[in-house]
């Protein structure tokens, strides 16, 4: 996991201070109204404050009690605001870092781009419009997002990606997109501006990170509705209780009814809900993935099928030598030594892997060529072979047909063992290379796509989570099938074209599945747009970046798996804290109901199973617990609950045990402890 962006600790003092300030700003009714549960809490707090003022005025001896209740109710609102502000603050810190790169740059806008001259005017980057063509040379900052129409340059994109190694950008192909705010290191490019100022990639990124454009995601909205509904139900309960108590000759004060209401309504999850959502986005950002909407993060949790590119995700990028297969009469060791000599002049990754295999597995020593007449034959794509003429030894290795031509043997005349080995390697998805010395075939080197060592376990884990993995490759079906079975994917698309991908996605979606994929090319764009979670590589084209709903700044397709996990973690955190919050109510009833009526019906003291010291202390303790639990859960809301790649039943059992049962038990203990403190301090 790469965490190149600043990774603030949970309670960075600067962020906390700013959040504390923001928590007060958020008392503005317009902002409070966005969250029905907290809004109700604020209204009730106001009401109790009025009661407190009245109690002060009429001096009936309850002012201390109503004052404390009012204070803790306000704290409840404050803590909920604080939770949201902390989550936002962590994003803001990153946004500020990004904003610093967006200094006002001067652009050289071409005046007559169609003519072949380079007449330009200097304008502020803010005055650039879509379609303008600008010239950027070494040392200059690219003024806006755009598409390279001419030239090639190395670009430092660390402002966006955090990665300091420069990348090559050139016109045409899949590497033509450049991002405003990045710096050209060498050469020059002409860039066609594709985004007006304020709508650039960087601007959008800042907005997303800051949460300025944050809207409730579908699931968050559904949960808010449920929470609002529960708030309404408990409002009925409390209001009707006033009447029912009246029948029972008990006059309940607004203060205690307010206390009951606020402890019953789901303030815990209500206060933490938006923080959880913001933190989920934030986790992705720190993972160097930018989601264009919270909806996409949620969808990631729901993904049933992952489309994974073979190269780079499932296998290492290149084919590697894995075995030497000699013809009869030649020892494996001899073949390894010869192959090593033949590959000294092969700088391709394949060639280097032959050296590594010979030296590693077969302990062939570095050959001593000094003093010998060695004439190297360098590998070229044209001849497809390499080798060395060492004295009278003419050693070659290369593609099977190239070597057969070199030794002048018709393919069907090659030794049977040689042909068998070649066939077997081809059948199993590998690539055979032949080795020959002085016109005689010595054997075959097996090159294979090497599947990453831990990938099979990861796919297994995904399968347990109910996620199907599909490998996408340009290989022929035989090769693809071999790698697919080795990597343990559930399905593969061989000889895949972008149209194939799109068709596959549509077919899966028709079956009700949600698909995630990543891509970088312009021809990936339709599939990226169609997929429920489309992760575009930052190194990809502008079209791809527009089509996807996430951008991976590291351009690392493996991260798709983690993205899914982050999505799941977000939903799990939300569900667990909701369960916890609702389960808490049981204890609060047992604290408050006996306290309300014990004066009228002393028998109800039997319900005071926590043995709280006095009715006032019981009510106050429940309210204090209710406020403090929000603060106590902020770290959990921000970090997310622990995620494990296990089946749904297992996850449910664990989380239900921790957050369901825990939610029942914890408040009994918490309220009791607070009650002991409250009565020890003589607060009530």
């Amino acid at each position: 996991m790469s965490t190149k962006h600043a990774n603030p600790s949970l309670f960075d003092s600067k962020i906390t201070l700013e959040a504390a300030k923001q928590a007060f700003v958020k008392f503005s009714p317009r902002l409070l109204a966005r969250n029905p549960v907290i809004f109700v809490t604020a209204v009730v707090s106001l009401l109790v404050t009025a009661m407190w003022l009245r109690d002060l005025f009429v001096a009936n001896g309850t002012a201390s009690f109503s004052g404390q209740i009012a204070a803790w109710l306000w704290f409840t609102v404050l803590f909920a605001n604080f939770a949201e502000a902390v989550a936002e603050g962590r994003g803001k810190a990153q946004a500020d870092a990004l904003r610093r790169t967006r200094t006002d740059t001067v652009a050289r806008r071409l005046l007559q781009p169609d003519e072949r001259n380079d007449l330009f005017e200097k304008v502020s980057a803010l005055d650039l419009r879509e379609g303008d063509i600008v010239m950027v040379s070494a040392g200059e900052i690219i003024p806006a997002d755009g598409e390279i129409i001419e030239g090639i340059a190395s670009v430092n994109e660390s402002a966006i990606t955090g990665e300091s190694a420069p990348v090559i950008r050139e016109s045409g192909g899949d590497r033509s997109a450049v991002t405003g705010g990045t710096t050209v290191l060498s050469d020059w490019i002409k860039v066609k501006v594709t985004a007006a100022p304020g709508h650039s990639f960087l601007d959008r990124m800042i907005a997303l990170v800051e949460g300025a454009e944050r809207q409730k995601t579908p699931n968050e909205l559904a949960l808010s509705i449920l929470l609002a509904g529960m708030t309404l139900i408990f409002l009925f309960v409390v209001v009707s209780l006033w009447g029912i108590a009246g029948y029972s000759a008990t006059v309940l004060s607004i203060t205690v009814l307010a206390a009951l209401l606020v402890t019953l309504i789901p303030t815990t999850i209500g206060g933490l809900l938006s923080a959880i959502g913001i933190a989920g986005m934030d986790r992705l950002i720190r993972f160097n993935v930018i989601a264009t909407s919270g909806r996409a993060v949620e969808a990631a949790g729901d993904v049933d099928t992952l489309l994974l590119d073979k190269t780079g995700t499932i296998t290492f990028g290149n084919r590697l030598a894995t075995a030497f297969i000699p013809v009869p009469g030649i020892s494996e060791q001899a073949l390894a030594e010869t192959a090593l000599l033949a590959s000294l002049s092969d700088e391709t990754p394949e060639g280097r892997s032959i050296l590594a295999l010979a030296k590693g597995n077969h302990h062939v020593a570095e050959p001593n060529l000094t003093g010998k007449t060695a004439r190297p034959v360098v590998f070229s794509a044209l001849t497809r072979l390499s080798g060395v003429d060492l004295g009278d030894r003419i050693i070659r290795k290369g593609a099977v047909d190239a070597i057969l031509k070199h030794v002048n043997v018709a393919p069907n005349m090659a030794p049977a063992a040689f042909r068998d080995a070649v066939d077997r390697i081809s059948r199993t998805g590998g690539t055979p290379l032949a080795v020959a010395e002085n016109g005689k075939l010595l054997g075959v080197i097996q090159l294979k796509d090497v599947v990453k060592s831990d990938i099979k376990e990861r796919f297994n884990a995904l399968r347990h989570m109910g996620i199907k993995t599909v490998m996408v490759t340009g290989d022929n079906p035989v090769t693809a099938a071999a790698i697919a079975s080795e990597a343990g994917v559930d399905d593969f698309i061989a000889e895949a074209t972008p149209e194939d991908k799109l068709a596959y996605i549509r077919a899966e979606q028709a079956k009700g599945r949600l698909i995630a994929m990543c891509g970088d090319g312009t021809n990936d764009a339709p599939a990226l747009a169609q997929a429920d979670v489309g992760v575009a590589m930052q190194s990809g084209t502008q079209a791809a970046r527009e089509a996807g709903n996430m951008v991976d700044l590291d351009s690392n397709p493996t991260k798709l798996i983690e993205i899914v996990e982050i999505g799941k973690q977000l939903l799990m955190t939300r569900g667990s804290l909701t369960t916890f919050s609702i389960a808490n109510d049981v204890a609060k009833y047992f604290a408050i109901i006996p306290a309300l009526f014990v004066a009228t019906y002393p028998q109800l003291g039997a319900l005071n199973i926590m043995a709280l010291s006095s009715p006032q202390s019981a009510i106050l303790s429940a309210v204090i617990f209710n406020a403090l639990v929000i603060i106590a859960l902020i770290p959990l809301a921000l970090k997310g609950i622990a995620y494990r790649a296990v089946g749904a039943s297992e996850l449910l059992r664990r989380n239900l045990l921790i957050y369901g049962l825990g939610g029942l038990v914890v408040p009994f203990i918490g309220i009791k402890i607070i009650d002991i403190i409250v009565s020890a301090l003589n607060l009530a």
Binding site: P218, N219, L221, A222, L223, L226, A228, G229, M230, L232, I233, F236, V237, S240, L241, W242, G243, I244, A245, G246, Y247, S248, E298, G301, D302, D304, M465, G466, I467, K511, G512, R513, K568, Q569, M572, R574, G575, T578, T579, I582, D585, V586, Y589, I593, L596, F597, Y601, Q603, L604, A606, L607, Y643, G647, A648, S649, L651, L652, R653, N655, Y659
Partner: protein, 562 residues
């Protein structure tokens, strides 16, 4: 509690489930078939209905509302005008406006709350053409609605959820009517009267004259139980010797109450193509119901310590019970009738011990889903299942779905609307009545017991149960009107959002179940659903219950009664 008592209880449940299973499978086939049955076609032609034309949820719900509103008007007029109508051997006059209002909603909403004494208020014609007819129709309405909701889960990307008229007709003709005939014959065989004679006069041993009311009791008794209606022919309901002449009639009553409701989840499982889902819902219903039975039985058997102090050997509480049935069967009947939204009684619930009386009340407040009224219990349980899946389903890291149907903001909005109805009606009216000087003279008892009477009445009405705690004189303008409103809201205000959910879910794709999906058939889900029903459904009533039966219980232990 005795072993024999428990054996009886377990035996009844075993027989019910043994019968409900095939009945549920039969209903799944009945409502799933596309070709018409012989008796149907003529009826549809007569009514000008095209049985092949299915309805959207809105059309379905509108048809249901229209049909039931007409039923309400007819029933209202029948009562008011009964003295003009035939079959009035006792010469009863028309009922009052508010009683007619209350009774009409009561029977249309499958509640059968009776503010009146049946044998002394309603003519035979009103009983037969009005009340008994509504006993069938309101039960059939419930079944039809449940079938429509079930289809929403069984279908994928569908615009329609069935045809109300077809479902109604089939529920009446092929489910309720045949069962009612069988059960009625059973009751007659066991000694329940079935006659059109008004009453007989008898001279008692003391020489006094006694009027013994008679009538078509067995037939009304059958559908009263099968359709979870609960409105008895006699005021004393199933404890009356003519409604429940012996213990066998009592068994048959309990069996008939339970069987259709218990068959509904079986039907659900078969129709959605996964019997395990239906089984899970049935287990939740039965486990909670049996817990209710156990609580009442235990409480009644422990009885009242005040009695021991008076020198009575056994403290077991026999007040208000038919000794013929005993504690076990009274406890079973009380739990079943309230868990079911039936409302027939064979013992006086007001005379139960405080905790014994709390349980029936609580079972009603949980929303009448254990297993609830015919049909209504199933869709009520489905709403709770949706809420459970939504809250806990997130904990597995996916947008929650139930049976492959995603639960999103729209469904949540509707489910919340539905679950708001009961607390609003029950707590709202209870609080107002408890404060209203005009309402309080109706109470027979003061203190917590009086509060229980009011709370029970509104819980019963809103839950469409219909049983009464006794003690409350509900035949007053205030109670008749408010209870009437509570019954109408509890039925129709609840079901409209549920139908909208059905429409929305029917239109969705059914996403395939994977290992990452939330499992909704195992013991974990069963436990979760029970927890959610108790916390979301029940916790709201805790304060009110604390001031009623709970305080009464502790007071009783302390030697005080009200």
């Amino acid at each position: 509690m005795t072993l024999a008592g428990w054996l009886q209880i377990i035996l009844v449940f075993a027989i019910v489930i043994a019968a409900a299973w095939p009945l549920g499978l039969y209903m799944a086939r009945l409502f799933g078939r596309t070709e018409l049955l012989p008796a149907e076609g003529g009826l549809y032609r007569l009514a000008g209905i095209d049985p092949r034309r299915e309805q959207s949820w809105m059309a379905y719900a509108l048809a249901m509302l229209l049909f039931n509103f007409i039923g309400f008007v007819v029933l209202y007029l029948l009562q008011r005008l009964q003295f003009y109508l035939p079959l009035d051997p006792q010469g009863f006059s028309g009922t009052s406006e508010h009683l007619a209002f209350n009774t009409a909603w009561s029977f249309v909403a499958n509640t059968n709350w009776q503010s009146y004494g049946g044998e002394t208020t309603m003519s035979h014609f009103t009983q037969m053409a009005g009340l008994t007819v509504q006993n069938f129709l309101s039960a059939a309405t419930g079944i039809a609605l449940a079938v429509a909701v079930t289809r929403a889960f069984a279908r994928t990307e569908a615009k329609t959820i069935g045809n109300f008229w077809v479902d109604m007709t089939r529920a009446t003709l092929f489910v309720l009517l045949p069962l009612a005939v069988i059960v009625a014959l059973g009751f007659m065989f066991l000694g329940v009267p079935q006659t059109l004679q008004g009453s007989v006069e008898a001279t008692t041993l003391e020489g006094a004259k006694q009027v013994i009311a008679l009538g078509p009791v067995a037939s009304q008794e059958a559908i009263k139980q099968l359709g979870t209606n609960g409105g008895g022919f006699f005021n004393a309901n199933s404890s009356h010797p003519f409604e429940g002449p012996n213990e066998w009639a009592n068994y048959l009553s309990i069996f008939a109450m339970l069987v259709v409701s218990a068959a509904m989840p079986v039907m659900f499982g078969r129709m959605v193509g996964d019997m395990r889902q239906g089984r899970a819902l049935l287990i939740v219903m039965m486990v909670m119901l049996i817990a209710g039975v156990a609580a009442i039985y235990w409480s009644e058997a422990s009885g009242n310590p005040l009695l021991s102090q008076l020198g009575i050997d056994s403290p077991a509480n026999y007040e208000g019970k038919e000794v013929r049935f005993g504690l076990a069967m009274s406890a079973l009947f009380a739990a079943v009738t309230t868990g079911l939204s039936c409302g027939a009684v064979n013992a006086m619930h007001a005379s139960l011990t405080p905790l014994g009386g709390l349980v029936p009340m609580f079972l009603m407040q949980l929303g009448e889903i254990l297993p609830g009224g015919v049909g209504s219990g199933l869709y009520g349980m489905i709403v709770m299942a949706l809420l459970s899946v939504f809250i806990a389903g997130l904990m597995v890291g996916r947008t929650p779905d139930y049976l492959g149907k995603k639960i999103e903001a729209k469904e949540m909005k509707l489910a919340v609307l539905a679950i708001l109805v009961l607390p609003l009606v029950i707590l709202g009216f209870t609080a107002i009545s408890a404060m209203l000087p005009m309402a309080l003279p109706s109470l027979a008892n003061s203190g917590p017991h009086g509060l229980s009477e009011i709370l029970y009445a509104f819980s019963s009405a809103a839950g469409n149960n219909g049983s009464a705690f006794a003690g409350l004189n509900a035949n007053t303008p205030w109670f008749n009107t408010t209870l009437g409103i509570a019954m109408a809201m509890g039925r129709f205000a609840y079901v409209i959002p549920v139908m909208a959910i059905a429409g929305s879910l029917a239109a969705k794709k059914r996403i395939p179940h994977t290992q990452g999906s939330f499992p909704t058939h195992g013991p974990l889900f069963i436990g979760l659903l029970i927890g959610v029903i108790l916390i979301l459904g029940g916790l709201q009533y805790f304060p009110a219950l604390a001031l009623g039966p709970i305080v009464e219980h502790f007071a009783m232990l302390a030697g005080q009664s009200f």
